[in-house]
């Protein structure tokens, strides 16, 4: 039961990061190695605001906005000029990730930091005792994910985004500007990752290298679910989320082995089914 409840909460947060990563690939054909940095920017910006004495809610909002802004800047300044050179985009976005890492280290040092919890104490759900911050994070993430999915599937805007992902050129012929859609999706994806960073900041730890694990997990999810597939991303998030918590609970020193298991999932999937397990399902 522990694993089930915790797994669900973790899945939602992970999906928050992975969805943006996957959408940006689907819509713009861009694999953004700086995606994990949005997670970090969200967390550290919220932390920086709370240090100045700002209310936590304000800090959280600032964190999300900062990540979104970072997404816009990344798209405009770095990705747009080299959009059609796949390898250049990969290298440039990795360089951005390291740049952000070195910036964070410059301002905050390598020490671990933590954001105060939005709520404190524990709550018992289905007989499982949980930290309230984790529950809050999971619930907010869940609501956000559902909202994003509804927007994608039920609104004209979402329809347009999916159209670009399915056939960029055809979308051009009906008067869509894929470049703009990519910018919006990247900005929103960055905001979602930033939100995940803010939500996990009270119970995770903030370090300058914290961007790598969410990026790896997003990659594992996208590989499992198929690059660019929305249902695949959601489903794979659940798999990786549960795996994450399962390992954390059942293996000695599980918490530090999570990343290892994620990489094992990646490599296994790549060997068994390189197009992902849901790669061909309609997106």
């Amino acid at each position: 039961m522990d694993v089930l409840v915790q797994g669900a909460l973790t899945s939602a947060v992970i999906a928050l990061v992975a969805l943006g990563f996957s959408l940006v690939y689907g819509v713009g054909g861009i694999v953004n190695l700086a995606h994990g940095s949005f997670f970090m920017i969200g967390a550290y910006s919220a932390y920086a605001m709370s240090e100045t004495g700002a209310p936590l809610l304000v800090s959280a909002v600032v964190g999300v906005l900062a990540a979104t802004l970072a997404g816009v800047l990344l798209e405009r300044l770095v990705i747009t000029p080299i959009r059609h050179q796949e390898v250049a985009v990969l290298i440039a976005t990795l360089a951005v990730a390291i740049l952000v890492q070195s910036g964070v280290q410059f301002f905050y040092g390598g020490l671990e930091r933590q954001l105060p919890g939005f709520v404190s104490g524990a709550v018992t759900v289905f007989g499982v005792t949980l930290q309230q911050t984790r529950v809050l994070a999971g619930l907010v993430a869940l609501v956000t994910i559902v909202t994003v999915l509804l927007v994608l599937t039920r609104t004209p805007t979402g329809r347009m985004v999916r159209a670009v992902a399915q056939d960029e050129e055809a979308s051009r012929l009906i008067g869509v500007r894929p470049e703009r859609v990519t910018l919006y999706v990247l900005a929103i994806g960055a905001g979602l990752a930033g939100l995940a960073g803010v939500l996990t900041a009270p119970y995770g730890v903030l370090t300058p290298t914290m961007w790598l694990l969410p990026l790896t997990q997003a990659f594992a999810i996208v590989i499992l679910g198929g690059l660019g597939s929305i249902p695949g991303t959601v489903l794979a998030s659940v798999v990786v989320g549960f795996l994450d918590r399962f390992v954390a609970f059942n293996v000695k020193d599980g918490d530090i082995k999570v990343g290892l298991v994620t990489v094992a999932v990646i490599l296994a999937t790549l060997v068994l089914r390189p197009q992902g397990f849901l790669g061909k399902v309609a997106r």
Binding site: R162, A163, R172, A282
Partner: protein
């Protein structure tokens, strides 16, 4: 003929891919309400011509006037100006429903009074099959239905000029006939068309005028009857000695 009746006039259109000159100085014009067909062998540059006009391909030209103004440079702006391209191989959004596909075609009119429902009814009455399957995803349609959906999607944008690329490609004879019928209906309703077609007989049935494109240049041009009677065309395209 007054210039206001001229929807499109192209002068000196050139497209090259690397060293290959695919279009080498094309001049053509389309008048309001008429259907101009472009025929020619594979690789003559027919599709490239349409892609250049809808600004999917880079091109150079002396001038391109569309609807009394210079044709804009970006794909987006040409669509907004009313030049709508129904591409080769349908290019539907396979994961979206037919209704979604059609409604997306109306994006160009989103800043104008809403005519979507009205236009949707028109498309559905033209292609009743699409109405039946409106909530199926477009990827599940047969080839002919996909073509209907693609044409319908283009019509939803109320095009000033409709570029139609190979609408009968890969279809069986019966399905082809149905598509030809609906294209004639669309033309009779007053839509100006630039039709690219490999099936010369079909092109001659729909077109008011015909251009024969060979090696990136205009080889013949004239009213349909004149082109159809041309001995060269007869020999090369109609298989008549």
């Amino acid at each position: 003929m007054s210039s206001t009746d001229r929807v499109l006039s192209v002068a000196g259109l050139k497209v090259s891919f690397g060293k290959a000159q695919v279009l080498d100085g094309i001049d053509l014009h389309v008048d309001r309400g008429e259907c101009l067909a472009v025929v020619g062998p594979n690789g003559a540059g027919k599709t490239t011509l349409l892609r250049a006009l809808s600004r999917l391909n880079e091109s150079t030209s002396t001038s391109i006037e569309f609807d009394g103004k210079p044709l804009p440079d970006s794909a987006y702006a040409t669509v907004m100006a009313g030049l709508v391209h129904c591409p080769e191989r349908r290019r539907l959004f396979p994961g979206l429903t037919i209704r979604d596909n059609l409604e997306l075609g109306a994006r160009r009119l989103r800043k104008q009074p809403d005519t979507k429902a009205e236009d949707l009814e028109r498309v559905f009455s033209l292609f009743p099959k699409l109405k039946e399957r409106a909530s199926q995803s477009a990827g599940t349609l047969s080839g002919g239905e996909q073509q209907q959906c693609a044409i319908g999607r283009s019509l939803m944008g109320r095009p000033t000029l409709l570029l139609l690329d190979e609408p009968t490609l890969g279809l069986s004879v019966g399905v082809k006939e149905a598509i030809i019928g609906s294209i004639q209906t669309i033309k009779d309703a007053g839509t100006t068309m630039l039709l690219v077609e490999q099936d010369v007989n079909f092109a001659f049935r729909c077109a008011d005028r015909v251009i024969v494109l060979e090696h990136g240049q205009v080889a013949r041009e004239g009213p349909t009857a004149q082109i159809a009677a041309d001995p060269y065309v007869k020999q090369a395209y109609l298989g008549v000695a």
